[in-house]
Structure formats: structure tokens, C-alpha cells
Symmetry: C2
């Protein structure tokens, strides 16, 4: 087996690597549960709520673009958009730059009710970040970025 | 304002801290989207699938205990259990140690179909972890642990 193809087996992991892998998995579970709890309060499921969050960062986009941003299939995204529209969080509208295209956009008065729910967790996250050295913060940022990019690539391979 | 109560305002963050906070948020979104994509393939929603994952780690537990582990309310957990039971992933059964209690447990032949979906992402995560020094891995582990614990505390405060 050549070096570049060598994949560590479970026996070769250090206890630290094992703990880290477990914590990455816990982190992912925690995120899903957290967004479910938030969504229960909003009457949405976790995926709908998170797609709305993507939409708030991106501004008005087509359904196809939202599928690219989230990594979901266009079929799944269409269902999400239907549910969000029904719940009043978004509207479908003609693209002002190209009247033949339909974009989805958030309804400001409806989405403004969401951010207070995140306030306390945001403040605590900032305090945690603040307790690390610049060098440690750089490693954490790099790690999260690479995991996020890799996960999106994996998801796009499934489509 | 006393030092211990001082909360950094957005203007006081360094660009690095700002990037890290953004990446933490992206990480959380990515986790929700990833589990939605997996769940679409399993015919479950992201929360149901993740609750099943908790159940696989914990072994047979009561609905109350599953609520504690996940941070969801008992009401929300009951709905999750109903859906997972209907889809054939779990069964309700009497606790062998206390016949008056009902526990939920996974159905092995049904859940064994899930793990191959995670194989590639697991291998890539290990390669990413492996590229950091022990000191960096320690900082990343500590950061994730503190974020996970803090999030669960926040969720339990809402109940």
C-alpha cells in the first residue's frame, strides 16, 4: 500500500484523535438538536429554518441557487420553499433584474422574531472564542473550514 | 461596567474572531443540511435520524432519558419515537431490568443500512484531523467540547 493511499485504521488512532472524532460527531448532533429546538418554537423543521438562514445571508435567490448553497437537491429545496412560503417566512417574486426568473425572498417582519432566540448562545460563543490564543483560533478556524468544505463536496457528489 | 460583565461588541472583534464566529455558524448549518441529505435517503427527517444515532450510542433507554440526551422536550421526543417506530427503525419494549418501564431500542437489520452512507465522510474527517499537531488537536477538541456543552445547557434552560 503506497503512503498516499494509506488510510489509518481505528487501532492506529491516538486517544486524542479518537476523542476529537467523537466530539466532531457530537458537535454535528448538537447542531441538529439545537436547530430542532429553535424550529419547534418557530413551527418549522430544522432544515426549513436553516434554509431560511441561508436565504438571509444570500439575499433573494432562485430555487436552483438555494440548492447549490445548501447542498440539498432541487426537489428537496422546492419542498422547503413551499413550507416556508405557507408559514409566511418567505415569498416567491419576480427577479427585478430578469423578470422571467422567479426568486425567493424573506419576509422581514416575520424573520425579525428569530434572532432574539440566538442572542444568548451567540454571546457565549464569543466568550469561548475569546479564551483562545490567536494561534489556536487560527487552527480551529482552519479545521472548521476544511470540514465544512469537505462536507459540501461530499453532499454534491451524491446528487 | 465591571470587567467580568464586559461583553465584546461587534466593533471590538478581530477579523480572525469574526471569521471564526461565521465559520461556527456555517458548521452548524452544514451539519443540519448534511443530516437532511442523509435523512432524505432514509425517508426520515434530520432530527429523527439524529435521535436514532443517540439511541445507537446509548443502548435501550426510556423516552425521558432520550429527551435528556438530546436536549429536546419529552413532547418532541415522543413524536420522534412515533415516527421512527412507524418507519421500522425502532421498537418500544419492556425494560428487562424493570418490566413496568418502557424503553425504545433500535432494530439492527434496519439501522445497519445507515453506516455505509457515512464511510467516506468519516475517512476524510480522519485525514483532516491527522494534519494538525497534537497541540492544535487539543485546542480544537477543547473548543468543540465547550461549544457542545454550552449549547446543551442553553437548550435545557428553555425547557
Amino acid at each position: 500500500m503506497s503512503i498516499e493511499n494509506h488510510q489509518k485504521t481505528e487501532n492506529e488512532w491516538t486517544p486524542l484523535q479518537r476523542d476529537l472524532l467523537l466530539e466532531v460527531r457530537k458537535n454535528s448532533s448538537r447542531a441538529v438538536m439545537f436547530h430542532q429546538a429553535i424550529s419547534d418554537r418557530l413551527g418549522l423543521n430544522a432544515t426549513d429554518h436553516k434554509c431560511l438562514d441561508y436565504l438571509l445571508s444570500s439575499g433573494p435567490v432562485t430555487a436552483g441557487r438555494l440548492a447549490e448553497l445548501t447542498g440539498l437537491t432541487t426537489g428537496a429545496v422546492t419542498n422547503v420553499i413551499d413550507r416556508l412560503e405557507k408559514a409566511g417566512y418567505i415569498v416567491r417574486d419576480k427577479d427585478p433584474n430578469d423578470r422571467r426568473r422567479v426568486v425567493v425572498k424573506p419576509v422581514p417582519e416575520k424573520v425579525s422574531a428569530i434572532s432574539p432566540l440566538f442572542q444568548s448562545i451567540l454571546e457565549k460563543t464569543i466568550r469561548i472564542i475569546d479564551s483562545y490564543t490567536e494561534q489556536e483560533q487560527t487552527a480551529i478556524l482552519d479545521f472548521l473550514r476544511r470540514c465544512n468544505d469537505m462536507t459540501l463536496e461530499e453532499m454534491n457528489r451524491w446528487k
